[in-house]
């Protein structure tokens, strides 16, 4: 694993605009960054990222299977009791999951360590699956990189295939919140994949979803919504007025309700409890667990429900404590052993390993100037070249 400085394609910005990637620059700062790329060997990708991602997914399913029937666990995860039956039913009925991103700390050597699982509302799917792919083809064609490069990235094909296999009857409605460019871009891309799988799709804003007198969700044309893809976290759904109506609405939701167990940071101590010592896991405990005091080599405090690096506190032995402000943390938090991100040329680098329909199929890399990555962290492309 190396970070290699390379030339930018001189027309990448205009291409980004044409290809629906409007959020390539955030508040004037680069988000898409092709002034460098990361190089991996095929063995690093297959042995250290791809295979472990599949193993982690399997362990996660074991956690869900245990949690849905364990009220103490559901309570620890701060999942409202009114939704327990709904979540349980979605697991028992095997409601299918679509996609998720494991965030891994990996420096090219040794096992990748799971930092968290974005199992509910992951973003950066488009830039990983599509724009990064286009970059690779063009960078080879323009001799910016050698012509025999590959990339761990069959996300697009796997998404289309997944939509073919999901068995969605009737139209698929897809919703993002108004005014959030990045989320809308992500949902538009997911709609693109669904349409290529032959599904009839209908994008609308979450705020525009209605409800009829029978408690069914409706779209802008007053048609009932039977399957809804929502880029909106389950913990927020569960607090919204229509969220409370959702279990009786008859609509299937993607990601399904049981994913709320995995997108919760409480997953990390649950994994450690069930699979203590697994090479891809870090020691982790609920904050009120006395064993949390054993993490003397530094730790990271994460709220059960936080997003994009908010409300993270990093306690490092012999160094100042880092923290990121934010609105989260009221539900409680977990403590995870410190495993700092590797630093390449002064950049802190995190690997996002993507699963589509539980199949590991791609990777995106984010960089930050700080040891805690955030929504503003830059996205850099990668290549596989032995």
């Amino acid at each position: 694993m190396q970070r290699i400085a390379i030339a930018e394609r001189d027309d990448w910005k205009s291409q980004a605009e044409t290809l629906g990637f409007s959020f390539h620059t955030i508040d004037g700062a680069p988000y898409w960054d092709e002034t460098a790329c990361y190089r991996f060997t095929m063995q690093q990708i297959e042995d250290d990222i791809e295979d472990p991602s599949g193993v982690i997914e399997t362990m996660c399913f074991d956690v869900v299977a245990r949690a849905i029937n364990d009220e103490e666990v559901l309570r620890k995860l701060a999942i409202p009791e009114t939704f327990w039956d709904y979540i349980r039913a979605s697991w028992m009925e095997q409601d299918r999951n679509l996609y998720g991103r494991l965030d891994l700390s990996y420096d090219g050597n040794g096992p990748a360590k799971l930092l968290e699982y974005n199992a509910d509302t992951p973003t950066s799917l488009y830039e990983t699956g599509a724009f990064q792919w286009v970059w690779l083809e063009q960078a080879m064609e323009r001799e910016i990189i050698p012509p025999n490069c590959d990339q761990f990235n069959s996300i697009h094909e796997t998404m289309v295939e997944a939509f073919r296999n999901l068995g969605i009857p009737g139209p698929l409605h897809l919703a993002a919140c108004k005014g959030v460019d990045e989320d809308e871009g992500t949902v538009r891309y997911i709609e693109e994949c669904a349409a290529q799988a032959g599904l009839k799709t209908n994008f609308l804003y979450l705020e525009d979803i209605g409800i009829d007198d029978a408690g069914r969700l409706t779209d802008m044309d007053d048609m009932t919504i039977t399957t809804l893809f929502k880029l909106y976290p389950w913990e927020w759904v569960m607090r919204d007025e229509f969220g409370l109506a959702l279990p009786k609405s008859g609509a299937k939701v993607i990601e399904p309700p049981w994913r709320a167990i995995l997108s919760n940071k409480g997953l990390l101590p649950l994994l450690w409890e069930m699979f203590e010592g697994h090479p891809n896991l870090l020691p982790a405990y609920f904050a009120d667990d006395p064993r949390a005091n054993d993490l003397t080599g530094g730790y990271v405090r994460k709220p059960l429900l936080s997003r994009e690096g908010s409300n993270i506190e990093m306690v490092r032995p012999g160094e100042e404590t880092l923290s990121v402000d934010g609105p989260y943390g009221a539900e409680g938090s977990i403590i995870q052993a410190l495993h700092p991100l590797p630093v390449f040329e002064g950049n802190h680098t995190v690997i996002g390993s993507w699963l589509v329909a539980s199949k590991p199929c791609g990777m995106g890399i984010r960089e930050d100037n700080s040891p805690i990555t955030k929504d503003s962290s830059r996205f850099l492309p990668h290549v596989i070249l032995d």
């Binding site: 599509a130 792919w133 080879m140 064609e141 012509p147 025999n148 590959d150 094909e157 538009r188």
Partner: protein
Amino acid sequence: MKRSSTLTLALMSATALTLAACDNSEQAAIFENVEQCSSQDGFDTLSCETNLQLAQEEHIRAAPKYSSFADCEADFGAEQCEPAPQQSSSGGSIFMPLMMGYMMGNMLSGRSNVATQPLYRSRDDSKNFRTGDNQKVSGKTGISKVPAQVARAPSTKTSTIRRGGFGSSAKAASGGVRRSFGS
């Protein structure tokens, strides 16, 4: 290959885009004449001439054929066509574009899967060389990477002299009664 083989963006792109992964590419050498070829490092004049001759022979077979000179010029531009030595079945003239260059294997890379063949330039895309079966190759001369399907010898019209050379072993093995030869 660890990546998608194609990518389509139809809804979210301003103009629908479909791209194929450039896999299985070959190192090919492209020249307009023997001088260009022999000045390339590692290429000797004799090989350059031999390959040009092979390409010229292939040109007769593989060039797109037209029954009208005007139709040929419409596709390849004014004064870019010539009469072909062939005649149509009714005895009429046949026309074909001028050969604008040729492709051969990279002599530095040893084993090569590149078929020596003529190259053309169409009127609507005159920057790029194209194969006899109208596949875009590259705009550059010298050594460059081309898609594998372009490097192969083009499929061209020919004449069949005999058929029926396949199938006799199967008939012998089965006595002609099996419905499938799959396993």
